[in-house]
């Protein structure tokens, strides 16, 4: 009898290969993609109401994107060989795309867009600050201090194009992760064409929720008034996205239950036992149904601003937990059952190890630290907005 194993597992299946850190990675890139989509709502889709969160969303995306490769590096048996993915990428492997999609998104989309939008502020700060900070800003100007109105118009046009390219790029950045799971025919819990779409919509939900929370927090810290029109609009888009996300997940569930193929009995048992709390309670009920009701209510009834803020705050907080649970259920859940459909194993999460809980917590806190630095360096709300109105 092997501890933690019920029934029969192929001998090499007992130990889980992809740990908590691999749960973290899609969560983080999801936040990146979602935050960027929110930013593009204003820039490309002309939802002018969410303008106050435009820069905030971009900085959020950058902070999380910089942390995204870390859980992967810590997971690899030989991180020093990870350059091989750039040197000899195997074109049939979705994972080989990672390096290129990541670099593309980081440089040509995110950094370029941030640079173009912040250029006026960067040049101004490079002239008004002193010392080490001045050096940083000077470097960020890339040596150009051209702030003529004509150049700012060009910046705006190019920035618009970058955002337009950025939307499918963000989809690719997170969608390929869904494809990494969805294309594994050996694993029936993962293998479905819906997987990239489900990942994408849940990413958008988590990203929008994260920016909403950060906006409320930032306004609190800066002691500025919250733009309720902005907040309500974000919450409205969050609600719509959430409805689509929920529909997709229910579609997957109903389809599986109806077809009841070879894997169904085993997976159903797993959801009812090992994944009961994380899947049924945390992901579906607490993480999806409750926030959906909380977000639907202001759409149907009139509530005072303070009530709406409380609703949004609670809904977004549990949404973020629910989307994390969703990643957990996919990654960990997909490894808990045997491919013989005759048994189950357990995930022995370590605490202070390389892939343990402590590392995961540190990796989740790091983006907020980086975010804090970015907000200080590139303030989303300058005293006087020069250039773009």
């Amino acid at each position: 009898m092997i501890p933690g194993v019920d029934g029969f597992m192929y001998p090499n299946e007992v130990e889980l290969q992809w740990s908590l850190l691999i749960v973290l990675y899609p969560y983080i890139t999801g936040l990146v993609a979602g935050a960027f989509i929110l930013a593009s709502l204003e820039r490309v889709f002309k939802v002018e109401a969410v303008r106050p969160t435009y820069r905030l969303a971009l900085l959020t995306a950058l902070a999380f994107l910089l942390v995204a490769p870390l859980p992967l590096q810590l997971h690899l048996g030989h991180p020093e060989r990870s350059l091989e993915m750039y040197l000899t990428p195997h074109r049939s492997s979705a994972m080989a795309m990672f390096g290129f999609v990541y670099l593309w998104y980081l440089t040509v989309v995110l950094l370029l867009e941030i640079w173009l939008d912040y250029r006026a502020d960067i040049v101004r700060l490079s002239q008004t600050t002193r010392g080490f900070l001045r050096m940083i800003y000077k470097a960020l100007t890339l040596g150009s201090d051209n702030l003529s109105p004509g150049s700012r118009i060009i910046d705006d046009k190019v920035g618009y194009t970058v955002t337009v390219i950025g939307v499918p790029s963000a989809f690719l950045l997170h969608g390929y992760v869904g494809f990494i799971f969805g294309s594994i025919k050996a694993n029936p819990w993962w293998s479905t064409p819906l997987m990239p779409i489900v990942f994408l919509f849940s990413a958008m939900v988590s990203g929008i929720a994260a920016v909403l929370l950060l906006y409320m927090a930032a306004m609190k810290v800066k002691k500025m008034a919250i733009d309720m029109r902005c907040l309500d609009t974000i919450a409205k888009y969050l609600f719509y996205t959430f409805v689509i996300d929920f529909t997709l997940e229910m579609l997957d569930l109903i389809h599986r239950t109806y077809e009841a193929d070879e894997s169904f009995r085993s997976l159903d048992f797993m959801v009812h036992t090992r994944l009961w709390w994380s899947h049924v309670v945390l992901q579906i009920i607490v993480g999806t149904l409750v926030p959906l009701i909380m977000l639907a209510a202001p759409q149907l009834f009139k509530f005072a601003a303070i009530t709406r803020r409380t609703l949004y705050l609670s809904a977004c907080s549990i949404t973020l937990i629910g989307i994390f649970a969703m990643r957990w259920n996919i990654v960990i859940g997909g490894q808990l059952f045997s491919k013989s459909f005759l048994g189950y194993t357990s995930y022995k999460m370590e605490f202070a190890a390389r892939e343990g809980l402590l590392t995961a917590v540190a990796l989740m806190l790091l983006p907020f630290v980086i975010f804090g630095v970015l907000v200080k360096l590139l303030p989303p709300w300058p005293e006087k907005e020069a250039g773009r109105a």
Binding site: N12, E84, S93, A186
Partner: protein
């Protein structure tokens, strides 16, 4: 420099003597012939397994473990014992320590029971090779699915992609490991460690490109199946008399 015909014959003769002495010595000592005599294009490796001959002794598991220095608790090959009862769609399956020490006697003599040896199926359309991001695992030109342990990142994507559960992460090397069809043996004219030590001949290495290999007659005259044929991996390990309950 002028080379006369005499010099040529003299040098050639010496070389010939040296070569034949060397070859004779090799035959005597049983050292491995030079790899130049093995041509990958002449071979396409696979295995045939006869369920009715497997006695579950675990010799194959022990031999493989010794030959390939397999770490304890992980398995390049293993044997499963099935106990099938009528009306129950799920068989009872066991593989105590992969059958490293054989099996304890069955407590269900009334059921249909048998042993199934398992290993890497050396798939020609291997899903594990398809997903490797860097090209650390591959199908060799002679049909063996191998892992380049100096190139593997240890991402374990291939472990997830294998439908048969035959891969694992080597705990010390931190690279992925699996049955290599004893590539270091079969390229020297030896058979695999598991086939060598199977007392009943339940497991046999086969070379599909060899006209005289018994596999051709075997496949023609017996009912054979690969594991999980619906996965369409083009597995090259064929089982004779495999029961439908086998997972």
């Amino acid at each position: 420099m002028e080379i006369s015909r005499r010099d040529l014959f003299s040098a050639g003769g010496k070389l010939l003597i040296l070569a034949s002495v060397g070859a004779t010595l090799e035959q005597i000592t049983g050292a491995a012939p030079p790899s130049e005599t093995y041509r990958m294009a002449d071979h396409w490796w696979g295995m045939i397994i006869d369920i009715d001959k497997c006695i579950g002794c675990g010799n194959c598991v022990r031999a493989c473990s010794t030959e390939n220095k397999v770490p304890s608790g992980y398995f390049r090959t293993w044997v499963e014992r099935y106990e099938v009862s009528e009306g129950n769609p799920n068989p009872h399956v066991e593989s105590p320590n992969g059958a490293m020490d054989g099996f304890p006697p069955s407590v269900h003599p009334e059921l249909k029971s048998f042993f199934v040896p398992k290993l890497c199926n050396q798939c020609a359309d291997s899903p594990c090779v398809q997903v490797c991001p860097v090209g650390a695992t591959f199908v060799s030109p002679d049909g063996a699915v191998l892992v380049d342990e100096t190139y593997c990142l240890g991402c374990r994507y291939c472990v997830q992609a294998c439908p048969y559960g035959c891969r694992y992460l080597h705990p010390e090397k931190e690279t992925v490991d699996k049955c290599s069809l004893c590539y270091h043996r079969i390229t020297k004219g030896l058979t695999t460690a598991c086939c060598e030590n199977c007392p009943t001949g339940a497991r046999q290495l086969v070379d599909f490109k060899n006209q005289k290999d018994p596999v051709h007659e075997f496949l023609r005259t017996n009912k054979v199946e690969v594991l999980k044929p619906y996965m369409a991996t083009h597995a090259k390990v064929y089982y004779k008399d495999l029961d439908g309950s086998v997972r």
